[in-house]
């Protein structure tokens, strides 16, 4: 019998998704015979719990950034000069003095200058209990960039007392809100970068695999040249070439292209290898012997058999791209303010004393970490899924 729940403490509810059964009995084999490829793949994926969890986590993160205006209590730019570098505020349900329970609330922070260190120190203002409200009215924003709205998922019920659940930055801007808005840039760079990677990598890979010859030779040498440079320095060199006078949107597009510039080489090689092997399959020969056009062979036989591999490679390329953007922005050669991105936010933690004094400035790093790890698990899960016949 297989271990139903997987690892001991590991999420009991996940069992719902991954009922595991040994397939030795003939009934199960019959079932296998009757399933379509897609069903087999789905079943395989659902069995990989880490991949499924990661997928759910990514969906949540992406939805939050898509509806950033709603999820974030404040805009990325609204600041409070009285609350610069405020630490994360504690969300409470219990009054520490009386011990009585309440709906979620927080004590606002009041800054006091420490006359020995001249540091601004924050203490909770225990006299005032500010309730935290869901679907609270707050700063107006445009949902999805079009719909005007002012309701936020959660926030302080008192507009005068700001709630910073992950602290604030040097200008008193809410870090959590900035992280959510920064995710729009960081995560979309990954997606757009990989989209370019997929298109360029697949087209070039297919051409050089299918036709070979001089074109293939030239492309392979080019790829070897690009890949002979270490990745990060090459990215940095290319990013540094983006003119500083460009508007932020252009810089963003430039960064996307720079990141894709290296990634396509990997995908292109993978696709080339696949095409080289697939074009020697007898079903391709059968189609050729019947007079199928190259376009038809690519469309009917190559792409359907490569799609899953391409998706896996692409999924695993997204975290690399996210890390690349973060690294460039962290170093100040990526996206520029007023755009926000996780790497740019992490730039606040570039000085060691800031990490010591304001450790919450590392929160953006946590988001990068979660996104990158989730993508890797997802990619691994998809990789298992790609070959549904290997059980």
């Amino acid at each position: 019998m297989t271990n139903l729940g997987g690892d001991a403490g590991g999420g009991r509810w996940i069992r719902l998704f991954g009922r595991r059964k040994k397939n030795a009995d003939p009934a199960a084999r019959d079932e296998y015979q009757l399933m379509t490829v897609r069903q087999l793949m789905t079943r395989k994926f659902l069995r990989n719990r880490m991949a499924l969890l990661s997928f759910i986590a990514l969906v949540i993160i992406y939805l939050s950034t898509i509806f950033a205006g709603f999820v974030a209590p404040y805009s990325a730019r609204s600041s409070d000069s009285k609350l610069t570098y405020s630490p994360p505020m504690t969300i409470r349900i219990r009054d520490p003095e009386t011990g009585s329970f309440h709906l979620p609330f927080f004590y606002p922070l009041r800054g006091k200058r420490n006359m020995e260190t001249f540091q601004l120190e924050y203490v909770e203002h225990r006299e005032k209990r500010v309730p935290i409200q869901f679907f609270v009215k707050g700063e107006p924003y445009k949902a999805l960039g079009i719909i005007e709205w002012d309701v936020h998922l959660f926030g302080s019920s008192d507009p005068e007392e700001r709630l910073h659940i992950m602290g604030s930055d040097v200008r008193g801007r809410d870090l959590f809100s900035r992280i959510i808005f920064g995710g729009q840039v960081s995560l979309s760079v990954g997606i757009f970068g990989v989209m370019i990677t997929i298109v360029v990598g697949s087209v070039i890979g297919t051409l050089s695999g299918y036709y070979g010859g001089v074109f293939d030779n030239v492309v392979q040498r080019l790829i070897e040249t690009i890949r002979s440079f270490p990745q990060l320095p090459l990215w940095m060199a290319l990013a540094a070439a983006i003119p500083p006078q460009w508007p932020p949107e252009w810089v963003y597009a430039g960064i996307v292209v720079v990141l894709a510039f290296i990634n396509w080489t990997g995908l292109s090689r993978e696709v080339r290898g696949l095409v080289l092997s697939l074009k020697e399959r007898d079903y391709v020969h059968a189609a050729e012997a019947s007079g199928a056009s190259t376009a038809r062979i690519v469309r009917k036989h190559l792409i359907p058999n490569m799609a899953s591999h391409i998706i896996v490679t692409a999924t695993l390329a997204v975290p690399v791209t996210i890390l690349g953007e973060s690294a460039l922005s962290f170093l100040g050669i990526g996206v520029r303010p007023p755009m926000v991105s996780w790497g740019l936010l992490l730039n606040d933690a570039i000085k060691i004393q800031n990490i010591v004094l304001y450790p919450w400035t590392l929160f953006p790093g946590l988001f990068i970490l979660v996104a990158v790890i989730a993508y890797n698990f997802l990619g691994d899960g998809l990789r298992d899924m790609v070959d549904p016949f290997a059980r």
Partner: protein, 356 residues
């Protein structure tokens, strides 16, 4: 169905001095350093309606000949004349567009049904693919045709929406047969169509092929490793070694009176069903030499037990026997050798009795 000459006497395919060399490339500039001489000067003809067995060890170039005939390869040299309504056409010289109508007449059946069916396509679409490529019929007509084909190859119409992995090996090969026949070819190159199947299924598929040949008047070029499979299905056998033909003869004659030492060796490698007495067996030793540098003279001389000095220097031509024009042999010593037949005199008598 197209009219077919019932006595099968007119030539459907005439191959002359066919050569297929694959370049071996090396180095940064991918310069050609040598050639694999996969097929090196092969000539034969195939009569309409007959089944010709093509036999030889692995690497002898059988598949390559098949692929030249269906024009997966453009031959390096030589001609492949195929009979069309307006006479014989040399398909070795045709370009992609000119080939298109001829592709309807020549199809190939592949060895491994696992690799010859696209796992992402439904059985119905796989069988209909040649029809689709040639723009034959509407969607409904093609569907009806596929159902008829499924029935002809002994599969149910419920196979239509299945995927290849949902079928057994034998069923998959039947799908391969249905696909090859979908556009009503006249010539089918069967490349070891049963060697990847279970022994119990092999006979079923061979029977199916034989039945379909009767029904549709097909011509087969039947490739096999092994003379025993070919004995059952072919009228004539061509024995191939290292890109060259060694012997071609009617099937019975091959088994009763082999005239080439290589044929004798192949016959000796078949396990005997009926053993008549004691006899010394000559079994092939060593590997087939590399087709990049084939041996000089007779390519078989490195493994031939009868080889003489002349064999190393002079290449024997494929010649018809003066006594039996149907048999062609490429050996210097045909006249002198008396080779061991597959059947003993007793077995032959039994066989005769069976046949009467």
């Amino acid at each position: 169905m197209r009219p077919v000459n019932p006595n099968g006497s007119d030539t459907i395919l005439a191959i002359e001095d066919l050569r297929q060399y694959f370049p071996i490339k090396a180095g940064l500039l991918q310069k050609t350093v040598a050639h694999v001489k996969a097929v090196d000067g092969v000539s034969f003809t195939v009569a309409s309606g007959e089944t010709v067995g093509l036999v030889g060890e692995s690497g002898s170039g059988k598949t390559t000949i098949g692929r030249c005939i269906v024009r997966l390869y453009k031959p390096t040299d030589g001609s492949i004349h195929f009979s069309m309504t307006d006479g014989m056409v040399d398909i070795a010289q045709l370009n992609r567009n000119e080939l298109q109508p001829i592709r309807r007449d020549i199809q190939m059946l592949f060895q491994d049904p696992n690799s010859s069916l696209n796992a992402r396509m439904r059985i119905g679409d796989i069988i209909a693919e040649p029809l689709e490529i040639h723009g034959i019929g509407t969607r409904e007509e093609r569907r009806a045709r596929v159902n008829k084909l499924l029935d002809q190859v002994g599969l149910g119409a419920d196979m239509h929406n299945r995927f290849p992995h949902q079928l057994s090996g034998g069923q998959r090969q039947r799908v391969g047969v249905a696909r090859a026949l979908s556009i009503e070819p006249r010539l089918v190159v069967c490349d070891e169509p049963v060697s990847a199947l279970d022994v119990s299924v092999q006979a079923q598929v061979l029977n199916l092929l034989a039945d379909l040949q009767q029904e549709l008047g097909l011509t087969y070029i039947f490739i096999a490793h092994d003379l025993s499979v070919v004995e059952y299905i072919s009228d004539r056998v061509m024995v191939m070694y290292l890109g060259k033909l060694m012997e071609t003869a009617p099937t019975r004659k091959i088994f009763e009176r082999p005239t080439h030492p290589y044929t004798e060796a192949l016959l000796n490698s078949i396990p005997k069903r009926v053993r008549g007495g004691h006899r010394k067996r000559f079994v092939l030793t060593g590997d087939i030499p590399s087709p990049v540098n084939p041996p000089s003279g007779c390519v078989f001389h490195t493994r031939c037990q009868y080889a003489k000095d002349i064999c190393k220097t002079e290449t024997p031509a494929l010649r018809a026997l003066p006594t039996d024009p149907q048999t062609q042999v490429a050996c210097h010593l045909v006249e002198e050798l008396s080779l061991q037949p597959y059947y003993t005199a007793d077995e032959l008598r039994n066989l005769e009795a069976d046949h009467v």
